[in-house]
């Protein structure tokens, strides 16, 4: 029984185990909330908004749990809900003013600054943080669709097939998005290196 439930946490968890796991929804939240938050943070670049959307994602999943038939893995299903929420968030441009008004002011530079120090010297740490800030800056210029693909690949380290399943895109489209996203990041990196 324990093995059955544990198996449902894996990425290939679509089966009766996933359906059974949904009965104990607290476990689902506990298992996936960090992952969903990371994806949403990478997509919306606002820590408060990412938290609100994470909450919303699990509420939507909870309300729709009876419609889940185990065709996709549980994680893929949740990621799909999260991506749709992030797209809605970006689509609703009219909320921008209120979003800024209620935002705590935390921005991507703060997130980039959270990079754990791993360099030998403080200068190396600073350079590493600036590099990461350049990636954040490049990610900001990507379309929401490209950003979703980029985050799933480079934050969640998902395979191209898994990304295609989670985003409802064709494998070729996923590759094109990733290539464009990478080109954008490299361009931004070169600009940053040129400014040094």
């Amino acid at each position: 029984m324990l093995q059955l439930v544990e198996g449902a946490f894996a990425d290939n968890d679509h089966s009766a185990a996933s359906l059974q796991l949904l009965q104990n929804f607290d476990s689902v939240v506990e298992r996936y909330q960090q992952r969903i938050y990371r994806i949403l943070l990478g997509m919306v670049r606002d820590e408060d908004a990412a938290q609100t959307l994470t909450q919303e994602c699990f509420l939507k999943a909870y309300e729709a749990r009876s419609t889940y038939r185990g065709e996709a893995s549980l994680s893929t299903w949740l990621i799909r809900i999260a991506i749709n929420l992030a797209h809605d968030y970006h689509r609703n441009r009219r909320l921008d003013f209120w979003r800024r008004l209620f935002s705590s002011g935390s921005d991507v530079s703060e997130v980039a600054g959270r990079l754990p120090s791993g360099g030998v010297t403080p200068e190396q740490d600073l350079l590493a943080k600036e590099k990461v800030a350049a990636v954040w800056s490049a990610a900001e210029k990507l379309s929401p669709q490209q950003r979703a693909v980029f985050v799933l690949r480079f934050v969640e380290e998902m395979s191209l097939e898994e990304i295609a399943a989670a985003t409802n895109l064709k494998l070729g489209t996923v590759k094109i998005h990733l290539f464009r996203a990478l080109s954008g990041v490299r361009k931004r990196m070169k600009e940053w290196q040129g400014s040094l």
Binding site: W98, F102, V132, S183
Partner: protein, 183 residues
């Protein structure tokens, strides 16, 4: 392969789909190696920063049973935000409206019909008095000074002092000598 890797080849390498020739080139070319490693490092840092932010944030799951039926907790939270925003906007609108109304009415009040009536009534009252109401306190002073009275211009003329400034009372004091002059 003497040429450096193209953008596409480097992207392929990052995605783990590099051709054999590109991989071989990377093993020997320091410049391409440095570029590829730089990019890999930056992407790794991007992932680590998000992970660190996620670990630092305390995420809580609220029991859906607490939410009212038919409406999610998130939707309630958003509705609450909108309610606050709406209230704030209403307050701002009222303040702006009040300021505008005040601004518009201030210069027009003296020319309004009610204002004119009031002024006429006040003038009539003052005309009936021997001393304008504004100068009533001054009369007391003058009474004290009657021991050494200054030469009065006319019998029964009110003893007035020209007030400084041009407020409403100043106008009244100017009308009084005119009245006396004409009578």
């Amino acid at each position: 392969m003497n040429k450096h890797l193209s953008d596409e080849q480097l992207n392929q390498w990052i995605l783990g789909e590099a051709e054999t020739a590109a991989s071989q080139h990377l093993e020997t070319c320091e410049a391409c190696q440095r570029e590829a490693e730089d990019l890999k490092q930056a992407l790794g840092g991007f992932r680590d920063s998000i992970q660190a932010a996620a670990e630092a944030r305390r995420l809580t799951w609220r029991e859906p049973a607490q939410a009212p039926a038919g409406r999610s907790l998130g939707a309630r939270f958003m509705a609450q935000r909108w309610a606050y925003a709406g209230a704030l906007a209403a307050i701002v609108a009222v303040v702006v409206l009040l300021l505008r109304v005040d601004y518009r009415h201030t210069p027009h009040t003296p020319t309004g019909t009610v204002g004119e009536d009031e002024i006429l009534m006040q003038i009539q009252t003052d005309v009936g008095q021997t001393v304008p109401s504004a100068l009533a306190p001054g009369e007391l002073l003058l009474q004290g000074a009657e021991e050494t009275p200054p030469p009065a211009p006319e019998k029964g003329a009110p003893k007035t002092r020209k007030p400084k400034g041009g407020d409403g009372h100043g106008q009244e004091s100017r009308t009084t000598p005119n009245r006396n002059g004409t009578v």
